[in-house]
Assembly symmetry: C2
Homo-oligomer: 356 residues x 2
């Protein structure tokens, strides 16, 4: 039996969107491919609230994290992490010999904006890496506050991981001054995994030109130069199946209306939070709760694996705590094309199984 996925990616994908994944192939050097890919970038600019360039990469979000930090760092990157995916920036930097320092916050907390200010004031760093929505802890960092601080440091290229939030909450890339804002398809955008997306500001373009060894396949400047030379065709054969489905889904998203979409996500989040507070507790700082995934403290000491097994029999799946939080917390994702009714159905089933 198929299980409806209330996990923070891959998310449940609508059947009409899945069907677009089965579109017959076209040549990736055809005018048709150019039109498709140019159209996708135009639509994504609306979702990202940006006038800057949009790049598509046939890779997971991790691939673009790597491309972003490699092509931005001349001096040194400051990585502010609030969980597992924040730490990933640093693992990537280390694996590529990119100079970087990791500043870790306790899991469940948001980023310390004053510390960012003090750190950048040293003048040692020309890149700031931040996770907007930390999937491992259910924290959504205050990017508006970070944006304020960054006004003082125009030499800093800002790389933001919005993998599990873009499309589910308003992220005004240009207004906030994000240079590289990256996401992937299998979260709030509501597609299968296999493609990642980023915005790439003119400032980031100029910075990348100063970095000698940026790599090849994941290099943002290589992608940027190629799509401009070849009318939005990509240097390697992209996942055309994802292109077809993404194009279709972007039309759906814009038809729903982005503000309506954000509101729907917030409604679902608030409902889960209320339920969490009634029966369990919120794991993370209430000032920085994610609108797309809620991390619940396992205050009742339930067997989360057992709960998921019972849910599975009824056609639902949630997530255990991430990494060191396994057993101590569990996560309910409320993103992409779910509605409040889907959330209620899930929570009613949990209530029933746990006799709450």
């Amino acid at each position: 039996m198929h299980k409806k996925l209330f996990i923070p990616g891959p998310v449940e994908v609508r059947q009409d969107v899945l069907d677009k994944m089965a579109t017959p192939m076209i040549g990736h050097r055809s005018k048709e491919a150019s039109n498709l890919q140019r159209g996708i970038s135009d639509k994504l600019r609306k979702v990202f609230h940006t006038k800057e360039e949009i790049l598509l990469s046939t890779s997971s979000g991790t691939g673009l994290l790597e491309g972003a930090i490699r092509c931005s760092t001349v001096k040194r990157a400051a990585i502010f992490s609030v969980g597992a995916f924040g730490n990933r920036w640093h693992q990537i930097a280390e694996a590529n010999n990119v100079p970087a320092d990791l500043f870790e916050e306790e899991w469940g907390k948001g980023v310390d904006v004053d510390k960012i200010d003090k750190t950048l004031a040293t003048g040692k760093y020309d890149v700031l890496c931040v996770t907007h929505n930390e999937t491992s802890t259910g924290v959504m960092n205050p990017v508006e506050e970070i944006a304020e601080v960054l006004k003082k440091y125009p030499e800093v290229v800002w790389c933001v991981d919005t993998v599990s939030s873009m499309g589910g909450t308003k992220i005004e890339v240009d207004k906030l001054g994000m240079d590289i804002c990256l996401t992937s398809t299998q979260k709030a955008i509501g597609l299968p995994p296999g493609m990642s997306i980023c915005s790439f500001s003119e400032k980031a373009v100029e910075r990348a030109k100063k970095v000698k060894f940026r790599g090849y396949y994941l290099d943002l400047l290589t992608l940027y130069n190629y799509i401009h030379k070849k009318d939005y065709q990509y240097p390697s054969t992209p996942s055309l199946s994802h292109m077809f489905a993404l194009d279709y889904q972007l039309d759906r998203m814009l038809e729903e209306g982005l503000e309506n979409r954000y509101k729907r996500h917030l409604d679902m989040a608030q409902y889960v939070r209320e339920w969490a507070k009634k029966y369990f507790a919120l794991y993370s700082d209430e000032r920085y709760l994610s609108n797309t995934v809620t991390n619940l403290k396992n205050t009742r000491n339930i067997d989360i694996g057992e709960l998921n097994k019972e849910l599975g029999k009824r056609g639902f799946q949630i997530s255990n705590g991430y990494g060191k939080l396994k057993g101590k917390a569990f996560r309910i994702a409320h993103m992409a094309d779910f509605t409040l009714d889907d959330i209620k159905e899930l929570l009613n089933n949990i209530n029933d199984i746990l006799r709450l």
Copy 2:
């Protein structure tokens, strides 16, 4: 109107295979995902004729070229190129500061095996990179002869690009001693683009352990360690849609029988070659012709763009010459799930359009 793709990737994909791309999502940390991905690796071992490990990467073949050369080179890589995709190895090395030398052969020729021998005899190199099937020229390099030479150089890790040949012609990875043999899904395997595959020998594993900065997302050792720790789950969310379709298509390929599949490809190649010699000429050295794509010299000086436009109206598409060969040559791919009847239908239509 859909055009049947006789281009060297993306290839025409059967509707039943496309339909598998629309399979509903599963959690990528589930037992179901482990089983799916372990099963795919087992089946791919048969296609690769190897007992070594198989790795899947959500990227194009170029991504795995990068992963392969980065994780193999301690001293210096010798890159023997016979065309555009051979040169790509070198562009990738340069972009990553991987020490490498490029040895280029004239387009249309096969690799000079004696030169490989003399080059490796210098002792300067610990990696050899070769393209098995050069998509830009329609040359299939004599890997059996290279394998003989390599017996003298056990310290050399052999990386082979079989992007446009694996699954369409017999490549006995273990027998030939290939350490990293890589391909991607949108060529002779007959799937949409978006996933690449490689074998990874124990010798390559040991070499990779000696390379400090191998990168992260495309690093083969990272993938290798992770799938062994997590029962064939991957470190980042993979393209599950491709996994579903690949699993299905591998069953189809094994059901057809690999030897039958190779024979079918050879039959199609020989038919196209005979037609080419009758009406045009073969571009490449007849000793090294590809079994999956034929490059034809435009001896009649036809307008290839115009021919493709007319073919398009009839529901077919072929390829112009690659890069500097545009207008001077054109390419007909005969791979994946096409049959001799499909080839005959295409060539009859070309005859009709050109009044041959």
